[in-house]
């Protein structure tokens, strides 16, 4: 290899790739909208003590079931607690549950899914266990776990993660199974790529797009399950202001004080929407064949 090498100039440098935030936003409105909405909710959750103008736990029976007004922005509940403050604090619970459920189930699911899809011997054993887990309803599992321990956020997260893991595993495994038969995997093996690198570089990145879509779904459904559990009284302790708890407690007076369930309900819907929009946008963006270049 001597003669052809001279064709290239000695000072050859690859031109740097430019990135413009404005262009990125203009080309990905769905991601931008979802991300901004979610970021706003996360900020609300983090700065809840500064945003809420009153104590969400303070009971004031004199002011019970007051409609939204200048003093109580979202009204009060049957104990006279301020619904605005409770809703703001409730964002914390929902976001923590949603994000940790998405994170933990994706991490576990991705690992198991890669192993199942790539190493066929692991597959038959792990998948039968997954089938078993999938048959467990989250709500029953949560009730069982909470009767065994004491109610709390951690146990709620665990109870939601366990049945969600198989959903992720199935998606990842299916993608890995289709990728491992792609000629580019054979091509990489022929080029001397070893198992670990093959998994991390050629298989893993191709599973990320479906994984992200699936984990946003899991995140959204985690929030909804938490709300359902709290609504049923099997979630976080009732005094904790989670959106599910607020709705559950407002249920009795919903005809005379609809704000106690509508407002946290709307917040729950907006949060789930933001997460789903972000997931859909990322799915389109992460596929280089669909993406318009930045």
């Amino acid at each position: 290899m001597t003669a052809p090498m001279a064709i290239l100039a000695d000072d050859f440098v690859l031109p740097p790739r430019r990135f413009s935030l404005a262009t990125a936003i203009r080309r990905n409105p769905t991601i931008t909208f979802g991300a901004v909405l979610l970021a706003a909710l996360i900020i609300v959750g983090i700065f809840a003590p500064y945003i809420a103008y009153s104590d969400p736990f303070k009971i004031a029976p004199v002011n019970r079931l007051r409609p939204p007004s200048e003093r109580w922005w979202f009204g009060t509940d049957q104990f006279g607690r301020d619904v605005f403050s409770r809703t703001v604090y409730g964002a914390r619970v929902s976001l923590i549950v949603g994000l940790s459920v998405a994170l933990f189930s994706s991490a576990v699911g991705l690992g198991l899914g890669l192993l199942c899809g790539y190493f066929r011997k692991v597959d038959s054993i792990v998948m039968r266990i997954m089938d078993g887990l999938m048959a467990i309803p989250s709500i029953l599992l949560a009730i069982a776990l909470i009767t065994l321990t004491r109610p709390g956020l951690g146990i709620v997260i665990v109870a939601i993660v366990i049945p969600e893991v198989p959903r992720i595993v199935r998606v990842v495994r299916a993608v890995v199974l289709s990728i491992r038969n792609q000629p580019y995997i054979e091509s990489a093996i022929a080029g001397g790529t070893k198992n670990t690198k093959l998994l991390l570089r050629h298989v893993l990145p191709n599973t990320l797009a479906p994984l992200i879509v699936q984990s946003t779904y899991v995140c959204a459904s985690g929030m909804l399950i938490e709300a359902s559990l709290s609504f049923l009284g099997a979630g976080v302790p009732p005094e904790v202001p989670s959106w599910g708890n607020i709705i559950a407690q407002g249920r009795t007076f919903f005809q005379i004080a609809p704000w106690t369930i509508l407002i946290p309900g709307v917040f729950l819907a907006i949060t789930v929407l933001a997460v789903n929009l972000l997931g859909d946008g990322l799915r389109d963006r992460l596929d280089p064949r669909l993406a318009r270049r930045l």
Partner: protein, 341 residues
């Protein structure tokens, strides 16, 4: 094209290669049979030589390619690469030998990871074998791009941003990157336009002369074979039926199947079309249930009663010309065969 020297030991020798794929069926997925994709194939390739492997779809050409690359494990037989028997090596032990044997795939699009830039794909074998690292890899890849006729700034592009011919050039650059001894080219030009085919074939020929590469060139296209091969092996249903130099194969085919293949190929001269003898009739039998005796007897116009019973061995009937046909004995008349009965 210079004829390769015969004195040197062949860089790739294959002896009695067999690959049977099991067929599982029934409720319990028991083994109910096997597809005899490759059924006892032997050949060798010298440095700087191209052996063409030609045959119909499903005759086992690609299986031979993949088995030689050890992408699938052979059922039995010996594969000797640069003096070392690699046929029984486990994946871990095989790794060190992979640098010597590289491959170019039929479909250059699906053989490139859609999520990696072209430069990374081409540079991957270099880094895998520790031949270069980081910035050094970039430079070497840029040079490889130049060598195969691509602009080095295309390193940043993804597979879908290239044309078919460019993608195949990328495949060639990747195969070439680790300076291999043998390249298995599995239908490398059949997905390309005819005009681009010639460019890619000429590039392969230039590279062969430059680096003394040995090619195992798999194709069903006789025109392509004629352009690039030094020797050609004709396959039928998992076996080589004839193997000889390009010149002899095209001027004096001895096996009835080769004859049929050649007569089926489009003649460049329209007047010759009228003289065309015939095209073999019927379908290729299933490799899961090959006919006894000579595999070709079901479609061979010259088949005798013996052909239905005895499998013909591949014998050297003239120097460098092996044929597996009972009606072509050593020193026999190379003229046309008579139709029995």
């Amino acid at each position: 094209m210079s004829e390769p020297s015969a004195a040197e030991r062949p860089v790739l020798e294959v002896e009695g290669l067999v690959k049977h794929f099991p067929i599982h069926g029934g409720l319990l997925q028991r083994r109910t049979g096997e597809v005899r994709a490759v059924d006892g194939v032997s050949f060798s390739i010298a440095r700087g030589e191209t052996l063409g492997l030609v045959g119909e779809s499903g005759c086992g050409k690609s299986t031979i390619g993949k088995t030689v690359l050890k992408l699938i494990e052979p059922t039995s037989g010996r594969i000797v690469l640069a003096g070392e028997n690699i046929s029984a090596l486990k994946p871990g032990a095989m790794w060190a030998h992979r640098r010597r044997i590289q491959t170019i795939f039929q479909d250059p699009y699906s053989s490139m990871n859609p999520r990696l830039p072209a430069g990374t794909i081409v540079g991957e074998p270099l880094e895998n074998f520790g031949l270069s690292r980081g910035r050094d890899t970039d430079e070497r890849v840029a040079k490889l791009f130049e060598r195969v006729g691509l602009r080095p700034d295309a390193m940043r592009k993804y597979a879908h941003e290239f044309s078919g011919g460019q993608r195949q050039r990328l495949g060639i650059a990747k195969a070439l990157s680790v300076n291999p001894d043998v390249i298995v080219a599995d239908e490398p030009v059949s997905a390309l336009d005819v005009s681009v085919q010639a460019q890619v074939l000429n590039l392969l020929i230039d590279l062969q002369e430059e680096f003394r590469l040995a090619y195992l060139f798999i194709s069903h296209d006789l025109a392509v074979m004629r352009h690039i091969s030094h020797r050609i092996a004709v396959m039928y249903l998992g076996r080589i039926v004839e193997i000889t130099t390009k010149r002899r194969l095209f001027s004096q085919p001895l096996h009835p199947y080769t004859e049929a293949l050649l007569s089926a190929a489009t003649a460049p001269d329209p007047k010759r079309r009228r003289q065309r003898k015939r095209i073999v009739e019927g379908d290729v039998p299933s490799p899961a249930n090959p006919p006894p005796g000579c595999h070709f007897h079901t479609r061979c116009p010259y088949a005798t009663a013996e052909c239905k019973v005895t499998a013909p061995p591949l014998i050297e009937v003239a120097e460098g010309h092996h044929v597996a046909c009972l009606r072509r004995p050593v020193g026999g008349d190379p003229g046309p065969l008579s139709i029995p009965g």
